[in-house]
């Protein structure tokens, strides 16, 4: 164990130093606008679950992210003279996305709060939405002032301005923070919270699309500097900020948001809600299943190869190789998959640009390799020593013995445990949704925000996951039967 600890510490220090160094390189003088112009694209990071700011809709059968934030982003890109690329991410991941240069800017109804200003730069405020409270219609007349919510539970998006404002301005209130607005609405409708603090346009959009909800103005007091939404950029992007401010000034001068962008967004909203049955969104789910299966399939193959390798390394005679294998297995099993996914995407992403899907596949594969290694090791351990002796007495090398005699038998013994691992992988792979990979969970959330329905998409996703795992388990049983001799 002593050696293990030394190894792990060594690896951690090496990684940290790597990250610190990279950080230095990136902190060079401001070439942000030039960089964007050079590559010809402006990459926008946004969390499209916040209508009418940004949300997902289907146009002629294709997924599209729309909303007035997106219109602003297009305007900025057009003014700079580059193409706009939209990257979907969790709201929580947006700041990290900027810091690691996965994205060039954030427009996601984000308030330029003092806390955020510590880590990123902001443009001027482009829209000044009031903070409202969304409540169940039946409660509309019960809650009129902020302190009507005293002693009760309310909801707000984690890390949002509404969250901190509610905390400061309502006495003795219990705030439930969730990452997704759709989940907050669900909490409201199921009575877990009595109100959800959110921006006026969003609150109105929900009330308009769901007759059981209503908007009340409890009189939030906004700090002058933190009002409204602004465009976020990485630190030291003065030239890029200046370019955005120029576009924003024009938008404000011409009142483009109220005159053009908001009506356009509302138009999509009505279109969206015209048919919000689950069947109508089958393409969303189909796409999600496709990605979930893709990630799982590749991770299983890579995981088995890596796992076999690690198991053999661990069973081998060479002490150093053994320590490497043990450290890897212990480290990967000892850290959450979620963190591994984020580390690969954001951490490794600082050195090499890894697309979200690839990052997800890499992280899940590396993770499953560690678990499969232990399964395989136990499988190899279960083979009688006599098998090795018989093969060696015939003159077979150790390698050949493993290949022809030991591993095929071990595989048969561990098949049920391996099958279990595959099924777990289908479910665990859902964690990649946090970096915006459009797997089944991600698509489920998209359907939630597109349809304003909370429970139906969850139910559909649950059934789909079950169908996937059940079919896989049947398939594995079939192969298990085939492996039995006689």
């Amino acid at each position: 164990m002593q050696i293990n600890k030394k190894w792990v510490t060594g690896i951690l220090i090496a990684l940290l130093m790597l990250l610190i160094n990279v950080g230095h390189v990136n902190a060079a003088s401001d070439t942000s606008l030039k960089d964007v112009k050079d590559k010809g694209t402006l990459v926008l990071g946004t969390s499209p679950d916040y209508p009418p700011y940004e949300f997902q809709t289907t146009v002629n059968g294709n997924d599209k992210i729309v909303g007035f934030d997106i219109s602003i982003a297009r305007k900025i890109a057009k003014d700079i003279g580059v193409k706009l690329v939209i990257k979907k991410m969790d709201f929580d991941s947006l700041l990290v996305g900027l810091e690691t240069h996965k994205i060039d800017m954030v427009i996601s109804g984000m308030n330029p709060s003092d806390d955020r200003k510590k880590s990123i730069d902001f443009s001027d405020v482009y829209y000044n939405g009031k903070q409202m409270m969304l409540v169940n219609k039946a409660d509309k007349d019960k809650y009129k002032k902020l302190n009507d919510f005293s002693g009760l539970s309310i909801g707000a998006q984690t890390g949002s301005l509404q969250y901190s404002m509610s905390k400061e301005q309502i006495n003795n209130v219990d705030i439930k923070g969730l990452a997704k607005v759709t989940d907050l609405i669900l909490a409201l409708k199921s009575g877990k919270v009595t109100g959800v603090a959110m921006e006026e346009p969003t609150a109105k959009a929900y009330a308009q699309n769901d007759s059981s909800l209503a908007v009340v103005d409890p009189g939030f007091v906004s700090a002058a500097d933190a009002r409204g939404a602004a465009v976020g950029f990485a630190k030291k992007s003065d030239t890029l900020v200046a370019a955005a401010n120029k576009s924003i000034k024009e938008i404000k001068d011409k009142d483009l948001i109220n005159k053009t962008y908001l009506p356009e967004a509302s138009n999509y909203l009505t279109k969206n809600t015209a048919d919000n049955t689950m069947i109508h969104y089958w393409k969303y789910f189909a796409k999600g299943i496709g990605y979930t299966l893709l990630i799982t399939a590749i991770s299983v193959v890579v995981g088995v190869i890596l796992g076999t390798l690690l198991a053999l390394m661990r069973l081998g005679k060479n002490k150093i190789i053994k320590v490497i294998a043990v450290s890897y297995i212990e480290f990967v099993r000892g850290t959450p998959l979620m963190i591994q996914v984020m580390f690969v995407y954001f951490g490794i992403g600082m050195i090499v640009n890894v697309p979200a899907l690839l990052a997800g596949i890499i992280a899940v594969s590396l993770n499953s390799g560690a678990y499969i290694a232990e399964v395989i090791r136990s499988g190899i351990g279960s083979i009688d020593d006599g098998q090795m002796e018989a093969a060696r007495s015939l003159g077979l090398s150790q390698k050949e013995t493993y290949k022809s005699v030991i591993i095929p038998q071990a595989l048969k013994n561990i098949w049920p445990a391996l099958g279990n691992e595959f099924i777990t992988l289908i479910k665990e792979s859902s964690i990649v949704s946090i970096i915006g990979v459009t797997d089944l969970i991600y698509q489920m959330k998209m359907v939630q925000s597109a349809t304003y329905k909370g429970i139906a998409p969850i139910f559909v996703a649950m059934v789909l996951y079950f169908v996937l795992t059940f079919s896989l388990s049947k398939l594995l049983n079939y192969f298990e039967g085939k492996m039995k001799h006689v």
């Binding site: 009688d384 006599g386 098998q387 002796e389 018989a390 093969a391 060696r392 007495s393 015939l394 003159g395 077979l396 090398s397 150790q398 050949e400 022809s404 005699v405 095929p408 038998q409 048969k412 001799h485 006689v486």
Partner: protein, 244 residues
Amino acid sequence: MSKIIEVNKLMKVFGKNEVLKDISESVDKGQVICVIGPSGSGKSTFLRCLNLLEVPTSGNVLFEGKDLTSLNEKDLNQLREKMGMVFQGFNLFPNMNVIENIKLAPIKVKNMSDTEADKIASNLLEKVGLADKAVQYPESLSGGQKQRVAIARALAMDPEVLLFDEPTSALDPEMVGEVLKVMKTLASDGMTMVVVTHEMGFAREVADQIWFMDQGYIQEKGRPEDVFDHPTSERAQDFLSKIL
């Protein structure tokens, strides 16, 4: 006659347990040696030291004049193919059918073509009387049949010596005969064999020499009629009086 196996001052210690204490013997080409003795006397360990499945604690094992204990992994593999071994527990590969069990080593070690290996394997199955079991899996065979396949598997490498580690001890009594019959044929064909066994009748009939082992030493050796009928050591007398 030329010596094919030579053992010098062989010692094997497991932890504090001295299983083999100073054994120096040799086996001539074409000789059949039967090693007998009470349980725990070190017979199996001795046999397993001959092809280095157990690494001797000290001493040397020479095969055709080459010291096995000084060889690297690759050269050792090459010499091992010349020393077939038959185990008490058969150790057939359950993931392969009978003929695949036999063909594996010729194909993988001798780089034989599949057709060539197939021919050899079929002949050997014929020889051990199991031609009709070629495509069955070991699971479906009786103990005696398994052991005969194991012998065929060892023979497929065309070895100079066959080592038998209590080949009939795990068998039901009615199956012992069929295995011994095959072994007798091999002996009469001139195969060099070292057999650890409790089958005294077989030993008496087939062996050129009986080695009686006890407490890590070869206590007595000689022609079967001498050892069995006129044992000189007290231990051999005691052992034989119990089992004969």
